[in-house]
Amino acid sequence: MKTGHSAFSLRRINAITVNTLTELTRLKVFYFLLVFAVLLIGSSMFMAQLTFQQEFQILKDVSLGAMSIFTSLLAIVATARLIPQDIEDRTVYTILAKPVPRFEYVLGKIAGVLLLLAIGTVVMSAVFFLVLYAREQTLLHVTMRQTAAAPREQVEEALRAVRASAFDIDIVPGIVIIYLKACLLAALTLFVSTFATTNIFTIVVMAFIYFIGHLQAIAREYWLQTHSSALVTRIFLAIVALLFPDLQAFNLVDDIVAGTAISLGLFFKTAVLGVFYTTIYTLLAAFVFYGKEL
């Protein structure tokens, strides 16, 4: 039988990735979160009975906020059980007794979660854009009706205002950053789960990290303003930043809702930060799992 062993095999990683994705799509929590997010996005269009600018603002705020929370929750809940469950069920023995390096197993697992998050994000974005488009079309018709007797320039101006309030190109990079934040959280959860004893422990630790991650930027600013900015302080803060990623840096939703343009520089800086953290935590997870006694 031709089964020559290679140190790195995309076929093996792909097999684990596809299997992880299949496993996760069978989790009821995934459907629950997705349905909940879809409901929230869908219902947000009925919440506002204000001016169209306010209505679009609320729609974007609620939808992007819900996407951020649900992808983060999905990343933590779905990842927390992956490796511990395989160990508990002994399926990990059967997999690692094959010529599969442990880092490939970890890579396959995280790739499966990232794929799931990508699918979730795309589905939620599609629903969001559909709702946004539907409301835009409705409001365009209403505006045309209301300004039927007005001069042509005034009508054009009113329609332009509706279109400008509806779709904003900055939503797209905003969603990419939401996805990258979820990837970071998934990789960090995978890392914690390699040494955690229970799923609950992993989820509790991740809940702490989530809140610390969102608050640490404020705490850092306060610390640097009220205390010295000596080298030791900066090193300490850098270590804290590595252990607890600055999740607030991934929050571009407020800027998008406020209509502030996201610069290309800010987008790339945040995206690189997300990829960097995801890579580091995946490598740490692979390192801990490599030395784990099964």
Partner: protein, 298 residues
């Protein structure tokens, strides 16, 4: 690419364990638990080797170290001459863990495809291998059923099939018949004997001694992590100064004559009794007849 077997030196023993010790630290205590102590073991290519012992004697730990799942505290283990900590050594090994639990949402066929891909197989080769193995373990009809609906015996058989997916030269089975009914157990026993006929080395752990006696060429007995006995089964269980004669259709006068012949010599007759079947055979025969009655048309 050369076949897996040819890249391993088949003149080396299938498994060689030298001076193996494994200790597990106890949290918040200075001392640690010794699971295996100074173990030397050698499984020759082509034989069925039984690692026997009570629960907690170190059988599973030894197997896990051989498979590279657990690292040894001291000593070395090799598979066909290769350090078993190396991932490529597992190319020659198939493993069935105790009470295996596979992904319930996969069908029998998908399970074999998943494990085949992990071994680098694909395309027509994998497809034909899946068909061959499903046929070998008698699960062709259940190939599209999810594993969640499989019985314990069926799970053991699909487990054996995944262990064989990449045509390994060594199969490691941890308690292969644990929790399986006598009929399922007999099927697994027959499959193991079939593997031996094909020249595949089998290393199995068990505490079901009657079964081990039926299939093993050599056995090693572990107690508290120490190998207390090892050797060819027939040599280990033979009673040097005793012999058995099993005679069919002998009349009572003939038996009496043999007995008096023994009494006239220096030998001593220890026991005279009717031959019996085993409880397992009786059970299998009885349930087979029962099955036949149930399927017989009115």
């Amino acid at each position: 690419m050369p076949p897996a077997a040819s890249r391993f030196d088949m003149t080396d023993p299938a498994v060689a364990v030298r001076g193996l010790t494994k200790t597990f630290p106890v949290p918040f205590h200075r001392q640690s638990i010794v699971a295996v102590r100074d173990l030397d073991l050698r499984v020759e290519s082509g034989e069925v080797y039984g690692l026997l012992g009570p629960n907690g004697s170190g059988k599973s730990t030894t197997l896990k170290i051989i498979l590279g799942l657990v690292s040894p505290t001291r000593g070395r283990t090799e598979i066909f001459g290769r350090d078993s900590r190396l991932v490529e050594s597992r190319e020659a090994v198939g493993f069935l863990p105790e009470n295996p639990y596979f992904y319930k949402y996969l069908t029998g066929e998908e399970t074999l495809r998943f494990f085949g891909r992990l071994c680098g197989l694909g395309g027509a080769l994998l497809k034909s291998r899946i068909n061959e193995l499903l046929n070998l373990v008698g699960l062709t009809k259940a190939r599209k059923r999810r594993l969640g609906t499989y019985s314990k015996g069926m799970l053991q058989r699909i487990g054996l099939a995944q262990a064989l997916i990449h045509d390994p030269k060594l199969v490691v089975l941890d308690e292969p018949t644990a929790g399986v009914d006598p009929a399922g157990s007999r099927e697994i026993r027959d499959l193991i004997l079939d593997l031996r006929r094909r020249g595949i080395t089998v290393l199995l752990s068990s505490h079901l001694l009657a079964q081990a006696q039926e299939i093993c060429d050599r056995v090693g007995i572990l107690a508290d992590g120490v190998l207390v006995r090892e050797g060819r089964l027939q040599e280990l269980i033979a009673i040097e100064n005793q012999s058995e004669l099993v005679i069919a259709d002998a009349s009572p006068p003939l038996i009496d004559e043999i007995e008096s012949l023994v009494n006239r010599s220096n030998a001593k007759l220890i026991e005279r009794r009717k031959s019996t079947t085993t409880l397992e055979r009786l059970f299998l025969e009885a349930t087979k007849n029962d099955q036949a009655r149930m399927t017989k048309p009115e």
